[in-house]
Symmetry: D2
Subunit: 148 residues, 4 copies
């Protein structure tokens, strides 16, 4: 498998996210695609107060949402706009309590088939050495006829 | 294994959720524990507009959050207040697009050990026949000394 | 969703397993479909000595194999012979050490779509009250043209 | 987190596997630890005929078993002999049909806590570029008192 080549830039994906999920960032302005490469994407998340748990840690759902978005963005970056792509499965292991600060979701495209795509994600801080969580997610890609 | 007996009522759990996660319901007033039984719990979620995706479907993160909360509530209901209980793993399969309306997260306690608890959750509508998603989640139970 | 109706009997499935996976049971004669119902199937496994771990417990891979077979059989029972159906994902939680004796894998069909099917499985003993493991598995169903 | 240092060599682990799981390799002589590094381990598997499926592909359970063994070996290599370490969860995504030949399970230690350890595994061929499967697994580490 030669490394897949992205077809969208981070800016294009950020604009697309604003169009498709206006509520996501209107209320929180939190998830930003910062990098796209061959088979990779990085999404950051500035966890706001509604994401915190007792003790100041970031909530599990915040990490799951970042994992889902990063996993989806790396597919979007390589297949192009296809809003109907649907998550069919997500599995996440929570490894360490996140430190306060910007969260980085680093996604890798593990498979890009005609019908299914699979990504894996590591969520960590800026240097990425001891991840807070690891996840994998599967997406169903609609057949061309249904994509109109 | 005799069926485990709950030690908290839905009202007690709802008050506890308000205390521990004030942001969760201050901004959304969405997750309500409606029933607790022997090894079971039901949490409902009135998905607000920020939960919707194009086409009016409910977002994956909304379903994941409900799964995590319901899975956690069924443990809480049986071990008592223990805010430090930490999710270590969650796996979710998305089966069908949710219909608009109240979501029901029906959780079953599958294991309640000294160190780990595992719950499974079905997310569906009021009648629960064709679930929108199924999930399992694992929680680490802190040792008594650390619980203070 | 009305309950799906099986199209194969346990005997037909057992014969099909012998045809398709001769090695599986030639060497071990272990996995037997004992029941098929509306959206359900039961597969038993007589764990042989090669399945045991120190202390006499049954190995994780034995439980995973039973989970995969039961999850696949419940789909096969409802879609008919389709040897190309491929596992795309399996997630399993190990809850308790199995007691020596026959293992029962009880599978439920959670979704039967045109392209994907999802089953969940509980592995336990004859009475099934305290499961040894719970699993979910996803299968890709080939398009009719490829099934030729 | 500084990179963890292994405390056992591949030879020591292979001998330990033979002692603890005599059946595993007596019948198949298949799983060999070939490399151990800081937070990493490699286990190879020569899939025999009993691992094959129609069309000559390697069975899902063979890949799951390799994933479980590689995930367990990387923990064993870093915590030392501790036969009671128990798998609590395993999640695997099947990405591509394996080619005939030696399978490589490349495991990374993602977390090594006092009570839980988590590894991730990629299963592929010798060059490892397009993995056949990715997995994560969680293990419960018994408290020192129970280890005798």
């Amino acid at each position: 498998m030669p490394p897949p080549t992205p077809v969208l830039t981070p800016d294009e994906i950020n604009r697309y996210l604003d169009d498709v999920f206006p509520e996501l960032n209107a209320t929180r302005r939190a998830y930003v695609v910062t990098d796209v490469g061959e088979g990779t994407a990085v999404v950051t998340c500035a966890a706001g107060p509604e994401s915190l748990r007792p003790g100041g840690t970031v909530s599990g759902p915040t990490l799951m949402t970042l994992a889902d978005i990063a996993a989806w963005v790396v597919i979007l970056a390589h297949v192009g706009r296809s809003a109907l792509t649907v998550t069919t499965h997500l599995s996440i292991d929570f490894l360490r309590k996140p430190e306060p600060g910007l969260l980085f979701g680093r996604a890798r495209l593990m498979k890009l088939g005609k019908r299914l795509a699979v990504s894996s994600v590591e969520i960590g801080d800026a240097d990425g050495r001891a991840p807070y969580a690891i996840a994998s997610a599967t997406y169903s890609i609609p057949p061309p006829l249904e994509r109109g």
